[in-house]
Amino acid sequence: MNSLSRLFASLSASTQERHMIELLELNEKTGRFGLTLAPDDIKQVMAARDETLRHYGRLELGIEATKEMIEAFAESPYITQDHFASTLQELHEIFYDLKNETEDKIGDAKLIGIMKDYFDNECAGSLELLRSKLEAFAAEFRIEAMQSEQLGEGEDDE
């Protein structure tokens, strides 16, 4: 889409700077759990996030989801400072994949909550396991959604 590409090109450096500041400010909250992101970490996380969005054919103009993910996962007992930035990069990939696989039918906050719950409990901090659990979750979710749609259509017919 030409007009969209043109508009993207107009995303100014000031916007990126604003995002950087917003994420650095989060360090105050996450620092309580011994986790912080340095400017270079943030650049890496944001670059990985942009690449993931492109890969999954999605668009996000703000960074609300990123902020929610950082805040939620900073509380996890399984994340250490050494792996904070790299874990966040992978979590972004899992998150946007899951958004597509659940066909945008689950809101960001709820989806992040589900991810966090699996990560902290059944997966015990394993990203590999998290991927596979969420894959099964998405498949089941789609079946349920389809059944409820069919039920709705049946009721409409009546």
Partner: protein
């Protein structure tokens, strides 16, 4: 169908261009804001900072729309959704800026007013057009033609209501979201969303109003003639009714007849054929132009805009006439009115198809008790398929007076040929006997139904008698020997 005309919009565009230095060809109705930005920058009315500012504001607007679209639950959407939302936002801004009817003013607006405000104005503008479209639809619905043309009926009864119900001003305004099958005579398909449907309904209303000036039976007969000539079932084909009616009203005027008569006689056809043969496009064009004026003199009470609509509709007609005349195929353009060669009511000759005596008596009783000839004919059409049963019916004297004629009018050429063969058996013996002469010379027959048949046949035109005569020569009468 003519797609080139943009009507008022085109005129507006032209007049706008004369008032400003901006190239009119560079301003696209479907991408008005983007083309204004490009032209504004080219002419120096906008600088690169203005353009970047507008683009950035569109991004902020999109950000906001994504939030509203996901009801605040998601900050990201698929690229397709984002594209749709942005297209919808631009559609609204385009609508507002286009409504200013002045590109310089619109460019000034882009420079001084923020996009969120322009978008809000645009959404309101689109909403108003949707309300107008709804009112227009109700008018079209109440003035709908009573014709068995599927595409016409489905478009009005099903597709247009779907659009009105599902059109989403905020998130999907550019989408026309309805399957509009019925083709208009003049249709600007470059329009999108509510502007397309509004234009469609305006044109359809004009077409309906025009066609309602003729008797329904005449329009139906014209449709049947079209089906006969094109050898298709007009009920399921895609064609424009207005074009057909209007063109035949024009032909009638050109052939020296009344615009109110759309059923061409063979004589009128021959006259038109002489006029069009060897006439070039410009001559035919002049003839058509004059015919439009004469038509409007005869039918002065027309909707505003009817004349230009007719003129646009005729661009294609002139070319079709010239081509058809060159290829000696004018009969495909000028439909002459003819009785149907073979009606659906076709009798079988096989004695195996006869009904039982009990059933025949019951039906004869029903026919006797029926009060109208239409009802009697309906019973016969529905229940009698064997010639032998029909002959029993005729011999039973359960029809009276013009009821015979009503029944004969329903029979096809082949059925009438069989009855002729029975009534004129002696007279038709010999290879070179002309049916027309036989009918005219026959004074009286034995039975009432036969006398009624002779009177009916005497009123048929020569071409129909010739068609019946051809059948007489082709029917196998082996099974009629007992008559």
């Amino acid at each position: 169908m003519n797609r080139g005309m943009t009507g008022k919009a085109a005129d507006e565009n032209r007049s706008l261009a004369t008032r400003s230095g901006i190239r009119p060809a560079a301003l696209k109705r479907s991408q008005y804001t983007l083309s204004l930005l490009a032209e504004g920058q080219r002419t120096g009315l906008l600088d690169s900072r203005d353009v970047s500012g507008v683009q950035h504001q569109f991004l902020l607007l999109l950000h906001n729309l994504i939030r509203r679209h996901t009801q605040g639950e998601s900050s990201s959407v698929t690229t397709e959704t984002a594209e749709g939302l942005l297209a919808s936002a631009m559609y609204a801004v385009d609508a507002y800026l286009w409504s200013m009817q002045d590109p310089e003013k619109a460019i000034a607006c882009l420079k001084t007013t923020d996009i969120v405000t322009l978008h809000a104005e645009g959404v309101e503008h689109v909403r108003q057009r949707l309300e107008e479209t709804k009112r227009l639809y109700h008018k079209v619905k109440t003035q709908k033609l009573d014709v068995p043309v599927d595409a016409y009926n489905t478009t009005i009864d099903e597709s247009l209501p779907i659009f009105i119900k599902k059109y989403n001003i905020l998130f999907d305004a550019r989408n026309t979201m309805a399957s509009i099958d019925y083709p208009l005579a003049v249709d600007d398909m470059s329009l999108q969303g509510v502007f397309y449907i509004k234009q469609y309904l305006e044109h359809l209303r004009l077409e309906n109003q025009f066609c309602r000036q003729w008797e329904r039976e005449d329009v139906l007969r014209l449709l049947k003639n079209l089906g006969r000539v094109c050898k298709f079932d007009f009920r399921i084909e895609l064609f424009n009714i207005f074009e057909l009616v209007f063109q035949h009203a024009l032909f009638s005027v050109l052939a020296g007849g009344d615009a109110r008569s759309i059923l061409m006689t063979p004589y009128q056809y021959e006259r038109l054929e002489r006029m069009f043969t060897d006439a070039g496009a410009s001559t035919v064009g002049t003839m058509i132009d004059k015919a439009i004026d004469r038509l409007l003199e005869q039918l002065p009470a027309q909707e505003p805009g009817t004349k230009p609509y007719m003129k646009t509709c005729c661009r294609d007609l002139v070319r079709r006439i010239v081509n058809a005349a060159e290829n000696r195929q004018l009969q495909a353009v000028i439909l002459t009115n003819r009785e149907e060669a073979v009606k659906p009511f076709v009798l079988t000759l096989d004695t195996e198809d006869r009904m039982s005596d009990v059933r025949l008596r019951r039906l004869l009783d029903d026919i006797m008790r029926s009060e109208s000839k239409e009802e009697k004919v309906r019973i016969i059409r529905e229940h009698f398929s064997s010639l032998h049963d029909v002959l029993d019916l005729l011999e039973s004297d359960c029809l009276y007076g013009d009821e015979y004629e009503a029944l004969y009018a329903e029979l096809g050429d082949m059925d009438l040929a069989i009855l002729c063969k029975i009534v004129f058996y002696e007279e038709l013996r010999g290879a070179f006997v002309d049916l027309h002469d036989v009918i005219q010379e026959k004074q009286e027959a034995e039975r009432d139904w036969q006398n009624r048949l002779i009177a009916f046949l005497k009123r048929l035109d020569d071409s129909r008698i010739r068609a019946i005569d051809e059948w007489i020569g082709n029917i196998d009468y082996e099974q009629l020997h007992f008559y």
